[in-house]
Subunit: 348 residues, 3 copies
């Protein structure tokens, strides 16, 4: 899709400096751009590439304007303006209502005529599917599920019984929403399953990554609030609540009954114990090990970055003896005090 | 399903104090319960909620009876009694034998007439499917697989060639059982695949979580013993043996040829190196890094919990210099000894 | 399949000592082998089993010949010879061209007549599928995908729009290739998706494990070079480049825009931050936390192995006070210096 720079500037609410009659057809990197391309500049490391670009126009911030040889779209939040521009140039294709002939749909499922039910999709009893929902190939929509308008199951998504999906939700292939959680009681050495009777509820504008799993609640629902973004291969345990606009990167695992506030960012491969409370605006760096509740906003970290193996082995040996070090240090301090006393008692 | 308290107490083998003629229809939290609800009380933190509950009855332990305003079911293991009660109130629906018309079944597959083969299921050559097995939508049952009675593939489960599944096994969506393991020899810089000729065998009462992967053995079988419970997103490498009733939480990875004993619990995101031997009754806390065999029963841990980023950076800098610290400490001790010798040699 | 030892030795280019007319029918462990079995010996720990084996022949290195009671195939790289022998004895079944009647194929998809499109497979518009490709049951091949000759999607593989797959690629069940990556701009507290316009390109001889996810690039392509082997449950972020013959073990996560060189080995559950550059021949041990670029070849590690919980708690308490230790150590050193000065100033 092509758009005039003038119109683009208007839609983005940014200032254009350059020929507004020119069209851009696509987004590109600064290096690969040609005179039909729109680019984004945000990292000063690449200033040489900016100066040499042949793009039609570049979205950037005021201080970078002077280094750009072509038309500019000046924004106080260039990355956001770029995201919006790219969405205009590459709109999601409109959903055409209908059922693929290979789909298997329960007679009492309630499907809006504007929704698309793709190849090999299974829709079970009592499911409700709203306007313009896209159910990509191989998806399974369990009994009693509800999917609100404009949501998109890309392909091969599994929604287990009773899962509730909000509006404009995007779910990637392989995601499993609403599995019966991992709850057991012990009967001697045997584990006895505790029926998991809650559901999963996804708010509006939620995104769930590929092969990510969200377990249903034991009694109450697992809640993923509006605007939450989950990357790939994440585990969300039963009864978790994830607050609005919190984003979690790939390979993280949140144990059951943990509640995370709003506007948190959780980097990749973070692990959280169960039954914790994490406040709003709490941020964790990658691979952080979270074993206690955190109420204070801020940035939290753990883990020791990789180092050459020989150095690691040496430090490891020392770590194992930290306890001994502490005792030796204390003993030295006591002796030092004694020495000082003795020195002070010395005959002058 | 509704059940009389009297009958419930009898079935659970617990003592009822209250009106045995009353029916309970569902389980609920103490707060949301009404006069048709059965509740569980186990955590004294919620004693106020117990005192205020409107439930029909509460399952609890003797010392908590006095705080409960309604009928009680008194158990020495209330959590187990609750699990059993919930199973009675929410029985798995009975499996109706048959084949969904969309299923694709090899002519020589042997399927018990009481088993259900769901929509979009593929059953390959020579597979054997026992009584009352439930093969949920989109499951793939590879050639030569065997599934014993009363097992349940919830949906979209993949059993690769030759996988053997015991009785009452529960496998969640997206699980892949029997993938050819990760085995290669080096030919210069190239990797050459080693055919993986073993199978995966799952014992009775095993549970496999969503998107969990269990690789087939290289020559002998990978074994998951009776009663093992695996959560979501777990990797079990080729040739592993997991002992009876061992439970592993989500996001853990067990490298090839590692053998884990019985009655172990392995918390979330634990990583184990290959070719280890872990004894019975060994327990690991979350994110533990297991690089050596552990024979002694007990609780094992590793990892440093998250802390405010600034504090972490400071400690990290110190950790990197631990080796130097050790040397400085030793040097101080030597000097101290020297000082003491000198002090002892002082003229009095 | 059976093969004469003489012929086998010729094909492997190794020296046979023993009866060349004898057939081997299968590979087996030393213990289970009978007179139709071929074995491999590589670990001297098992020398007793070698001495007692009843195999037809054993592949081993020269120094081990004297301990073997049966025919030997002597190789300088016995593990490679074993891999090649096993491939000869257990050849992949030849692919029979055709379409399963349940497959759904777009009219303009271009499928080589020697390729197999299995049960429940979906092939979308414009996809190109080369000679002898095997598309196992339940796979989804998105619009504009290309799969080159002799590649194999085992079952239930998802290739998202535009994914390019080289020759002899092996992709295991549940893998999701080409998901739109995790890219957002912030609009106040809301996340705004950035369209992901690149593709994923897999080179020749690549292997992708079960439930592994590889995200498409934001603008340029995510590249997985020839000979790369990825195990199960791995996340590869958008714009990553993984160099030739690099192998990554299960549960690892590589964040977006990180570039890894050739011939690297990355053990299980390793986490890498984004925008890093890892050189050739760099190796990481399991659970390593990689936060900086590494250019020097070598072995890198991090993490503290599990220890008994009580010991861990003690060391953890010490770790939290490392900063204080450092200060106390420094103070001791200063006092010691002062003491020494004072001692030196003592009246003699």
């Amino acid at each position: 899709m092509a758009i005039k720079l003038q119109e683009l500037a208007g839609r983005l609410g940014v200032e254009l400096r350059g020929d507004g009659e020119r069209y851009v057809h696509r987004v590109e990197t600064l290096v690969r751009a040609d005179d039909a391309s729109l680019c984004f500049f945000g990292d000063r490391k690449y200033r040489a590439e900016l100066s040499a670009t042949r793009a039609a126009a570049v979205i950037l911030a005021e201080p970078d304007v002077e280094f750009c040889p072509v038309a500019v779209l000046v924004s106080t939040n260039p990355y956001l303006a770029y995201a919006q521009a790219a969405q205009l140039l590459y709109p999601e294709p409109a959903v055409t209502g209908g059922l693929h002939p290979s789909a298997v749909v329960a007679p009492d499922a309630c499907i809006d005529p504007s929704a698309w039910i793709g190849a090999m999709v299974v829709v079970e009893e009592g499911a409700e599917i709203g306007p313009r929902v896209f159910a990509g190939p191989g998806s399974i929509i369990g009994s009693g599920c509800r999917i609100d308008e404009d949501s998109r199951l890309v392909a091969r998504v599994t929604l287990c019984t009773g899962t509730q999906v909000g509006k404009r939700v995007l779910i990637h292939p392989g995601a499993v929403i609403g599995r019966e959680g991992f709850g057991f009681a012990k009967d001697g050495e045997r584990w006895v399953r505790i029926p998991q009777l809650g559901r999963v509820r996804l708010g509006d504008d939620v995104e769930i990554g590929a092969n990510t799993t969200v377990d249903r609640g034991a009694l109450e629902d697992t809640l993923i609030a509006d605007g939450v973004k989950l990357d790939n291969l994440i585990q969300i345990g039963h009864n978790c609540h994830i607050g609005e606009n919190t984003a979690i990167a790939a390979c993280s695992g949140i144990s059951g009954s943990t509640r995370i506030g709003s506007n948190c960012t959780i980097a990749g491969a973070v692990g959280m114990a169960g039954h914790l409370t994490i406040g709003d605006d709490v941020h964790f760096t990658g691979m952080a090990m979270v074993t206690r509740s955190v109420t204070e906003p801020g940035l939290y970290s753990s883990g020791i970055p990789a180092m050459p193996n020989a150095q690691w082995r040496r430090n490891l040996a020392r770590f194992r003896r930290l306890d001994g070090f502490a005792r030796r240090l204390k003993s030295l301090e006591e002796k030092q005090d004694q020495t000082n006393i003795e020195l002070q008692q010395e005959p002058e």
